[in-house]
């Protein structure tokens, strides 16, 4: 990973990298740390021998914020990897298919949620072929129903609206 980053920044040495990956990384950590720190203000640190529920999360948040700040500072020195574009196609379809599965598993059941997840996630790859993926989705769902529902007897809904289970 670092190899490609160094190569990318080496290609255009003239343009100063504006927002670097490390800067974003550090700021993200500081934000998370701040959220955790202020999210636990109502919990006690404990007194004397008894450590309260607030000490550990707040202590860790402070450390995390410190490390985040350090990464922010360090991001202005040394090799600076530009943030680069973020490919949206992959996350959109893969994670979208997972959400669709979650929405539909209780109502439509595995018989429909299964192929739905397979087909939608396959859209994440430009090279996927429609007919191939439809056949594959059907075959895979059959396999999963056989394996998880009947062989392993997991209590996963199959098709509640049609079959009632």
């Amino acid at each position: 990973m670092s190899g490609t980053a160094a190569g990318a920044s080496g290609d255009n040495p003239v343009r100063p990298p504006g927002i670097t990956r490390d800067l974003v990384a550090g700021l993200l950590l500081v934000t998370v740390a701040a959220g955790a720190f202020f999210g636990t203000t109502d919990l006690s640190n404990g007194e004397g021998a008894g450590i309260g529920p607030g000490l550990m999360p707040r202590g860790i948040a402070l450390l995390l914020g410190g490390v985040g700040a350090l990464i922010v500072v360090l991001s202005f020195f040394g090799a600076r990897a530009p943030i680069g574009g973020i490919a949206l196609r992959g996350p959109l379809f893969v994670l979208g298919s997972v959400v669709l599965f979650a929405v539909s598993i209780r109502t439509l059941g595995l018989a429909f949620a299964g192929p739905l997840a397979v087909i939608v996630s396959a859209l994440a790859d430009r090279d996927s072929r429609p007919l191939e993926i439809i056949i594959f989705a059907a075959a895979l769902t059959l396999l999963c129903v056989g394996l998880f529902k009947f062989a392993l007897r997991l209590p996963i809904p199959l098709a509640p609206m049609l079959l009632g289970y």
């Binding site: 021998a49 529920p53 860790i60 995390l64 994670l95 396959a122 790859d125």
Partner: protein, 499 residues
């Protein structure tokens, strides 16, 4: 002798028909995912965790362990035939293994990799059997303060041995520990960091994080960086290495095993480091170093033995101290927790069948893997032709079903998608996600031991200095960190990982 009784007990458990079958199943799945690039043991084991609910704990752990070391065997097949590592631990094998394949010696490379792995697996199994009892006895003497210090040491070594930036690795561990505090506090019952979302009351499920950050985020990473596969079309040729091959490989296998066994014990990714170390040692010791990179059999035999030995001895800290040294062992903690087992020194005394059965199964599994890998090599080669465009939707579906089955709750599936997104962002920002999982797994124990230690010492933090074991371990942690950030060491570290 006591140890023989123990091993006999182990074999009596492992040779039961059901456990034998589960061991074989684990080895098969392990080889399968090892062969397929882009599907790792972490993602697979987290996918299969929910399925192990119905199996008894011994069988479940035997199967999951088989997946882990089976993947080490399978990874080398892909490295040799396709020149891409099936697993992170077989990166080095691509250097000389693929060259051997191009010279028509693919079979010999596969053969020596399997034989080296087998020898390493046998020796490592014996080492586990020998070391386990004294290590567990030592661990029983540990006070809470010592345990706390041990975990800090483990996490610190994980940071030092991880690849990439040290501050980022530390940040990942801290984030993991922070995530482990989410949910109801175990002592006071107060809600922590759930931001009014009652679904998080019981804390975040381990499988949710593992599958999101490793399963889904890995898919997204692979889609972002498409790979090209050039399966060697030439025939594989004879599998059995010649007498000369054996003579050349004998010492590399022994040295690789020793190195791997030692590095596997260390927290962090010892097993990943081992093949690199073995390769550079063999290159230094060789009479003609220029052969390396052009198909030197030592360059396959040494690293392959090292990675398998490391994969096995990584079980020692888990089973005796209850400290997982890497992400896969962290998953093993998850698997044990599902079955209400607490990893640690008590496992051996309270669950001797589980402990010794698992160890015996490792030896049996290594034997099975030789059979699975060598005569059946043709099947695995054909599998390599399954394109990733079909593979990843299948993984998505398996993950969805697996995660839903943990609690039969769709909310877990949503959460996993969110962690998938988080994992992808982390990868794109050059974070290595493995320490996050380690921090998450150890987080609760860390807090528990800290509280116990402070309660015993009546609130005095000096307890960590007064306990000699704890003080030594904390000192080593600090020294390791300081050495790692020294400019001269930082350069060396970069070279090691760049090779």
């Amino acid at each position: 002798m006591e140890i023989f009784d123990n091993i006999m007990l182990g074999f009596s458990v492992a040779l039961g028909l059901k456990n034998l079958g589960l061991c074989f199943l684990g080895c098969m799945i392990g080889t399968l995912i090892g062969v397929l690039p882009g599907v790792g043991p972490v993602a697979t084991i987290s996918m299969l965790l929910p399925i192990t609910f119905g199996i008894d704990p011994v069988g479940a752990l035997i199967m999951l362990a088989g997946i882990y070391y089976g993947a080490q065997y399978g990874g080398s097949t892909t490295a040799i035939l396709v020149n891409i590592p099936g697993e992170a631990t077989s990166v080095v094998t691509t250097l000389d293994g693929h060259q051997m394949a191009r010279q028509g010696r693919a079979g010999v490379a596969l053969g020596i990799a399997a034989i080296g792995s087998f020898v390493a697996g046998c020796i490592a199994t014996i080492i586990i059997a020998l070391l386990a009892v004294p290590m567990a006895r030592m661990a029983l003497l540990f006070k809470p303060a010592d345990y706390f210090a041990l975990m800090i040491l483990g996490l610190m070594l994980a940071v030092v041995l991880a690849r990439g930036s040290i501050p980022k690795a530390i940040a990942m561990i801290l984030a993991g520990v922070l995530l482990s505090t989410v949910g109801r506090d175990l002592e006071t019952g107060e809600e922590r960091l759930i931001f009014g979302w009652s679904e998080l009351d019981d804390g975040i499920d381990f499988a949710v994080i593992a599958m999101g950050v490793f399963g889904f985020a890995e898919i997204l990473r692979n889609l972002y960086m498409p790979e090209s596969r050039n399966v060697v079309q030439a025939t594989i040729g004879r599998l059995l290495p010649s007498r000369l091959d054996f003579r050349q490989s004998f010492w590399p296998i022994i040295r690789g095993t020793g190195l791997g066994s030692f590095l596997g014990l260390l927290p962090g990714n010892g097993a990943v480091l081992a093949p690199f170390a073995s390769y550079s040692i063999e290159k230094k010791l060789a009479t003609d170093p220029s052969r390396f990179g052009c198909g030197a059999i030592e360059g396959v035999a040494g690293p392959e033995s090292a990675n398998n030995a490391g994969a096995q001895t990584a079980f020692i800290p888990l089973l005796t101290l209850g400290i997982p040294p890497n992400a896969v062992m962290a998953l093993m903690v998850g698997a044990m927790t599902i079955h209400n087992l607490v990893p640690g020194p008590e496992i051996m005394t309270k669950q001797p069948k589980l402990f010794w059965g698992m160890i015996a199964s490792m030896w049996i599994g290594n034997l099975m893997l030789i059979v699975i890998n060598l005569p059946m090599i043709g099947i695995w080669v054909r599998l390599l032709k399954v394109p990733y465009r079909l593979l990843f939707p299948a993984i998505v579906l398996f993950c969805c079903i697996g995660i839903y089955s943990v609690n039969n709750n769709p909310v877990d599936v949503y959460l996993t998608a969110a962690f998938g997104l988080l994992g992808y962002v982390l990868i794109r920002l050059d974070f290595e996600p493995a320490p996050l999982l380690l921090g998450f797994v150890l987080g609760r124990l860390l807090e528990e031991k800290l509280r116990q230690a402070m309660a015993i010492s009546r609130g005095s933090a000096w307890t960590f200095v007064e306990h000699r074991i704890a003080a030594v371990m904390l000192a080593i942690s600090v020294v390791a960190l300081i050495i790692a950030v020294l400019p001269s060491m930082r350069q060396k570290r970069n070279i090691v990982f760049a090779e």
